[in-house]
Symmetry: C2
Amino acid sequence: MSKASERAYSQIRAMILSGALPAGAQLGEEALAERCGVSRTPIRDALRRLEGELLVKRSGTQRTFVADWSLDDVGDAFELRAMLEGHAARRAAERMTDPQIKRLREANRVIGAAVRASPPDVEGFLEGNREFHAIILQAAASPRLAALLGTLIEQPVIWRTAHHYGREALLRSFGEHDELLAAFARRDGPWAEAVMAAHIRRAYHAYADAHTGLAVIDRQLAHG
Amino acid sequence: MSKASERAYSQIRAMILSGALPAGAQLGEEALAERCGVSRTPIRDALRRLEGELLVKRSGTQRTFVADWSLDDVGDAFELRAMLEGHAARRAAERMTDPQIKRLREANRVIGAAVRASPPDVEGFLEGNREFHAIILQAAASPRLAALLGTLIEQPVIWRTAHHYGREALLRSFGEHDELLAAFARRDGPWAEAVMAAHIRRAYHAYADAHTGLAVIDRQLAHG
DNA sequence: CTGCTCTACTTTGTATACAATACACCCTGC
DNA sequence: GCAGGGTGTATTGTATACAAAGTAGAGCAG
């Protein structure tokens, strides 16, 4: 898995996460092989890994698709993420080093700048967010927890959410990070856990509201 | 993945779970292929899946081993399992149908019989336990939760634990299942969650105690 | 026109051959 | 005797050919 297989895995995942391969799209091994410039063998390896991460789904037999998430699925994922990442935050608060806190502050500074831009820089916001959460996960120092959360966090639907946010939602999210930073700074594990869980549940509600609204609009467009 | 690959996956997993392939053992694709009567291709597929479940580990490049768990790893896994399976119990309690409760009672009856046998039938106890927890996970009706828990539950170290239990520990575990059943019967989600989490944490403590004791004995044997 | 069936094609599963890589052992030189 | 390099071997990575299975589409019958 040194070269081609690893590269194929990254490429396919990037295509899914970026939306180049939309949810529900069929993944032909042959086509992917040609696209990545390798044979089907490393593609198969990559698809097995992505299947384990629930990023792709095998339709019984004979066909492979980009996983499609229902609203229930998304709700489940956010709830699990709230629980696990809350746990991660508690562990992180109990273990965090000063340099890590510094990196967290820097990541949050980037987020703040992105939020205050006109118009808000959603991509910058997302990038800062990933960094912020990645540092916390790293500080939690639990490989197993990281593995579980990885399959939840690295889902396109989880992050594309933010594109539907208004400025006030972005600002609120930013403020919650400040609260988290304060908890980390005083090594307050329980409070960090509570804030993190609430932070993620709030993100879900923002998503669900936006999604419902968009679904309504979609339906109106379809009928009118 | 219809036939050979699936079979190879099950076989290898069974070998790991049963201890026929001990932790740290090297897994040669060629040898496994011969042992399963298939070519290396389905073996590779199977190993990729098992790698995703953290049952096997790839040593950088060039070698594959049965995953070896430190005591910290086990502690992490139990803590995560307590959290997630507690969540599963709550969801299950809110959704459980009467037939499912009946199946739970039956599984617990099997466990009770195994515990009361002389000597206690540990294999029967484990079988009933797997069934008991599987029904709950199914009733929780969250594929994502099932996927996460699957990688935690299906670890040999988690279950072989019970071989170190005394009769009183087995009986206590059995009694906690009764408590869970009662919570399910009255659809008491929060209580089911609390009991389940405590149940699993207690199982870990029994394991850690036994492990520490065994480690001490091992050391004494090594020195004497 | 609709429904069914059969066929052809698409797609994945499996086997095998070959290449690359890392590890271990041995040989040589100091 | 030890250290360093080099070669041989074991093991995984990759490509390709072939087999099996299923789906879609076309053609035919009712």
